[in-house]
Symmetry: C2
Subunit: 346 residues, 2 copies
C-alpha cells in the first residue's frame, strides 16, 4: 500500500462560472486515521451542483470551503484501516471523503454499503443523496395526486429522473425539461416521461412557457424546482390553484452566487413571484436534504427494490481519473453531462 495520495483543493474562489484555475491537484501523504476513524480508498466520488455554493464565501446552509481547503463531497470506497469496531478492512462504505483518492472520516459519518444489492456507486446517485432528494421533496412537499401534472427540469439528472419516475408511478402526467434532443429522448424513452421539452430550443422564458402550455393542457400542479432561472419564470404563470413547488436547488443561479440576476431571469421580479404565490394559493417549500436523514430508511425500503428489480431506471455519467474532476464539475454546471455525474478513481 502506497503512502501517498492525491487530492483537489480550492485554489481560488470563482468569479461567476468556475474555471480550471480555481482548482489545484496536489500530492500529499495518506492521513493516519485517529481513534474512531476509518481510512478509505475511494472508488467513486460524486459531483453535485451544491458544491458550487461551497466555493463562495457567502452565507448559506453550509460553511464555505476555505481557499486551499479540500473540495468537499461524498464518495464511496473500500475501508483500508478501521479504528472503529463497526467497520473492517474490505468493507464498502460511503462518506464525506472529498475530492481525493483517499480519505479519513469518523465512523459516525460513514455508512456501510452492501455491494451485492446494487453497484456501489448507486449510493451516490439513485440510492444516495440525489435520489433521496427527489423522493423526499416530491413526497413530502410536492404531495402528488393521481391525475395531476408535474414538471421537473434537469429531467435526466439523478434528482429529476427520480422525481419523474416516482410521480409517473403515482399516476401523474409528467413533463420534463432538459438540454438537447438526446436528453429529451432519454427522459421519454428510458425514464417514461410523458413529454420532455428542450430548453435550448426555446430561448426565452416566454417561448418555453408556450411550449409548456401545450405539453401541460391541464396546467401544472407540482413544479419540482431544481434549476431556477428561465424555467422558473416559464413555469410560474402556468401553476394551477393550490399548486406545490418544492425547492431543492437552483443550478441556473449558482454561478451568480444566487444573489444576482442573469438576463434570462430579469423578468422574474420579487413582487411578481410573490403575487403568484398568493393568487394561486401556492405552497412553496425550500428544503435541505441533510435535515431529513431520518427518512432515509423509508426511502431505501421503497426505492431500492425498484432499482434492483429494474422498474426504476437510472443513468450515470462517469469520468475517469481524479485529475478530470474539475472539468466534470464545470460541465455539470453547464449541463454538459447526462445522468448522475461521478468520477471513477483508481
Amino acid at each position: 500500500m502506497t503512502d501517498t495520495m492525491q487530492r483537489i483543493v480550492l485554489a481560488s474562489r470563482p468569479d461567476g462560472a468556475p474555471t480550471l484555475d480555481n482548482f489545484r491537484l496536489e500530492d500529499t501523504k495518506v492521513p493516519t486515521p485517529g481513534d474512531g476513524d476509518v481510512l478509505v480508498r475511494v472508488h467513486y466520488m460524486s459531483i453535485d451542483p451544491y458544491m458550487r455554493g461551497r466555493m463562495d464565501d457567502a452565507k448559506s446552509y453550509a460553511a464555505p470551503i476555505p481557499v486551499d481547503g479540500l473540495m468537499e463531497g461524498g464518495s464511496v470506497g473500500e475501508v483500508t484501516t478501521s479504528n472503529d469496531p463497526k467497520f473492517k478492512p474490505g468493507d464498502f462504505v460511503m462518506g464525506p471523503f472529498g475530492w481525493a483518492t483517499h480519505g479519513v472520516a469518523p465512523a459516525a459519518q460513514v455508512m456501510k454499503i452492501d455491494p451485492n444489492v446494487a453497484p456501489i456507486q448507486t449510493a451516490l446517485g439513485v440510492l444516495g443523496m440525489p435520489g433521496f432528494t427527489g423522493w423526499l421533496g416530491l413526497t413530502k412537499y410536492g404531495r402528488p395526486v393521481e391525475g395531476e401534472t408535474l414538471v421537473v427540469a434537469a429531467a435526466t439528472g439523478p434528482v429529476g429522473s427520480m422525481v419523474g419516475q416516482i410521480a409517473k408511478a403515482k399516476g401523474l402526467r409528467v413533463v420534463g425539461i432538459a438540454g438537447g434532443p438526446e436528453k429529451c429522448a432519454l427522459a421519454v424513452d428510458k425514464f417514461g416521461f410523458d413529454a420532455c421539452l428542450d430548453h435550448r430550443a426555446h430561448k426565452t422564458a416566454s417561448e418555453l412557457r408556450a411550449a409548456l402550455k401545450d405539453a401541460c393542457p391541464n396546467g401544472i400542479d407540482v413544479y419540482f424546482e431544481n434549476v431556477g432561472g428561465k424555467v422558473l419564470e416559464a413555469v410560474t404563470p402556468l401553476m394551477n390553484l393550490h399548486g406545490r413547488i418544492p425547492i431543492c436547488g437552483m443550478i441556473a443561479w449558482y454561478n451568480e452566487g444566487g444573489l444576482g440576476e442573469t438576463a434570462s431571469d430579469a423578468g422574474l421580479t420579487g413582487p411578481k413571484l410573490w403575487r403568484t404565490i398568493l393568487v394561486k394559493s401556492l405552497s412553496v417549500n425550500g428544503f435541505i436534504i441533510s435535515n431529513h436523514w431520518s427518512e432515509l430508511p423509508k426511502f431505501l425500503g421503497e426505492v431500492a427494490p425498484k432499482v434492483v428489480g429494474g422498474t426504476l431506471a437510472y443513468e450515470e455519467d462517469i469520468t475517469e481519473g481524479l485529475e478530470n474532476a474539475p472539468q466534470a464539475f464545470i460541465d455539470l454546471l453547464t449541463g454538459g453531462n447526462t445522468g448522475k455525474a461521478l468520477v471513477k478513481i483508481g
Copy 2:
C-alpha cells in the same frame, strides 16, 4: 319604505392609486328580490384592501368589477323582504351587498348574525373575513410554536391585530410593524404586542431591517405577510431556518396591480427571494380565505368567546355615509385608517 337607494359604481379603472374620479355615486331604484332572494337595508359596509385588485382588469383569484358595475364588498344590515324561509324581515345578516344602501342576494350567500352576541359590524371585522383570515393563516400555515418570534405588519388592522393576539396567547414573541407612533402605541397598549416598529421612521428596507434585528434578537420564525414591499424585503434575511410565511395579501403592491416594482422593493429580486426560501428551508403558502369557509365555525367557536369576554381586543375606524366610502378606501390603501375600516350607512 322608500323605493330609491344609492350605490357606488366603478366609473373608470385606476391607473396606479385610485382617485375619487374612479367612483360614481348613483341614485337608483331599490331592486325587487327574486325567488329565494333576500332584500337588505345596509347598516355597515366593509372597506378592504382586496377591493383594489377587483378594480383592475387583471387575472386574479376573482373576476374584475366591470366599469359602471357596483363596487363589490361585504355588508351587514337588516332584512326588509325575504323570499326564503330561512330569513324574515328584521333579521340581521351579512352578505355581498356591495357599496350600496340596499342590496339583494340569494339566501345561500347570506349569513344570519345574532346582534345579542356582539355588535353586528364585528361580522365584517374581528369576527368576519379579516379576523378569520388572520386566525386561519396563522394557525394553518404559520404553525406557531411557543417561544418563537412572529412579525406582522399592519399591526393594528383587523388581520394584523388578530394574528398578533392569537400568537401572543400561544406564547410567541410578537413584533408588529405599523405606520406612525399612534398605531405603534396602540399595537403594544391595546393589542399586547411585545414591540411595534414605525415603518415611517425607517425609510429604507435596510433601516427597517436593522430595527427589526434589535426587536427580534432570536430571529423571525413566522412572518405573516399582509403588506409586501419594503417590509418583506426587510424581513426575509432575518427569517430563521424552517420559518413560515403565510401570505394573505400585499397591500404595498396593490397600486401597481401587483405586477410592477416600486423604488422600495427594487432590491427584492426573484432569485434573491427564491434563494432565501431554499437556504432557510422556508415554507411559504399563499391562501385565499374564500377557499377555507368550512373552518369558519371552528374560528367562531374559538374566537367569539374571547371577543365577547373582552380578552381579544379590536379596533374600528368608522366613516359616516356611503358618499364618503371612496375617500375611506383611498385612505385605507395609504394607511390613513386605524383599525377595521367600515362605512356606516343610514
